[in-house]
Amino acid sequence: MRDEKLEFLFRLGDTALVLSQRLTEWVGKGPALEEDMALANTALDLIGQARLWLAYAGEIEGRGRTEDDLAYLRDAHEFRNVLLVEQPNGDYADTLMRQFLFDSWHLLLLDGLAASADERIAAIADKARKEVTYHLRRSADLVVRLGDGTPESHRRMQRALDDLWMFTGELFEADEVEQAVEAQGIARGVAQLREAWLAQLQGTLVAATLVLPPLDAWMQRGGKQGRHSEHMGFLLAEMQFMQRAYPGLQW
């Protein structure tokens, strides 16, 4: 029997881990020193959260795999992150819009998990949501400043929103895993988060003079079930290189 809680923990851990990896790709080449530090710090929070989720997943799995084994020694089809976070960094508008779409969803998700029937999940979520509140404050603020900025920054932010939109449907997709963890009281149903998320988005997009894409647009899916975009293999190749080339290496 498949353990739905384990599957759900992989979704949480892998999503945080993969976005963290994407953000670290900016380190050393951010458009300004302050932005470089902000992305690095956000990535650090996310990798800390990924570690907490994956360590718990490893314990439940009971095969002796640590969070490092899970991060560095699984292949793309075994990752359960949402597709949104594996999308390439693109230009700074793409990176920021991805972050805003993610942060606004992530905070709602963690708020629900902080009331989880599983004490360990509730504790991790309660800790993580304080960090994520800060992430959202920053990403939402920048979406407003750049959306309502110059014609060029406005154009890029709108384009980034339109391009990324098809990856947001999956965030609220309740498949059998999500339904099972909801029934067990582990998580609030993700579909229920959509209304609050849209309200959050609308408020920020109005202030940013950006237009919300059509709600009935076609949506891409599959990340949560292990079907990833072509970008995932390249991301893992870089993230996992050391442990693949030198198995068990420590420093």
């Binding site: 020193l33 302050e34 530090m37 902000a38 690095a40 710090n41 956000t42 650090l44 929070d45 996310l46 990798i47 800390g48 959260q49 570690r51 907490l52 805003f100 606004s104 905070l107 709602l108 004490e119 509730a122 504790a123 991790i124 309660d126 800790k127 993580a128 304080k130 960090e131 509140t133 800060y134 959202l136 404050r137 920053r138 990403s139 939402a140 603020d141 979406v143 407003v144 309502d148 309200a199 959050q200 408020g203 920020t204 202030a207 940013a208």
Partner: protein, 179 residues
């Protein structure tokens, strides 16, 4: 170590109050509020001193160093068996930082957290509406004491800090964020 001769938990707390935070060596881990509990587990030679620690941020790289420093410090005081536990609930907050810790931070040039973390919680619905952040809760300049300061960067040299500048004395400074 016999149960009668072992140091009390209060004594262990005093020793821990001398263990520095590796990122901000001017304050101790007790001042920072990350030591949550000290207790003895077991009797006589089996007894171990258990220290529960709460990491500040999930990804704080200092966490591992702090555990090592705790074990090292207590061994130096003659405790052979020390076990550290990571406790993430309730989550760490700057409200647990001691007044002494805040004073030492200021002297060191880092503006300490202002007010209570829970009181500054911004309703999520108010985030990203294009309004200017409230001016309450801004730190004073740790050098000249002026309240005329401006945010330079929401993130600083460590996850727990933000970067500000003083418009009176023109110096930049770190602010330990309310969390």
């Amino acid at each position: 170590m016999s149960t009668a001769s072992r140091p009390t938990a209060d004594q262990v707390w005093q020793w821990l109050a001398e263990v520095e935070d590796p990122e901000i060596p001017v304050i101790s881990i007790v001042d920072l509020g990350i030591v949550r509990e000290v207790r003895w587990h077991g009797e006589d030679d089996e007894a171990e001193c258990v220290v529960a620690l709460t990491p500040t941020y999930s990804g704080c790289p200092a966490t591992h160093v702090i555990e090592q420093s705790v074990r090292q410090a207590l061994r130096a005081h003659g405790l052979p068996r020390v076990r550290t536990l990571t406790r993430i609930s309730p989550p760490w907050t700057t409200d647990w930082m001691s007044d002494e810790g805040k004073r030492k931070l200021r002297e060191y040039g880092i503006a300490p957290p202002v007010g209570s973390a829970s009181a500054q919680f911004i309703p999520v619905a108010d985030i990203g509406r294009g309004g200017r952040p409230a001016s309450s809760g801004l730190p004073d300049c740790p050098r000249c004491g002026s309240g005329d300061v401006a945010l330079t960067s929401q993130f600083g040299s460590t996850p727990c800090k933000a970067l500000y500048r003083c418009k009176a004395c023109l110096e930049p400074f770190d602010h330990f964020k309310c969390h």
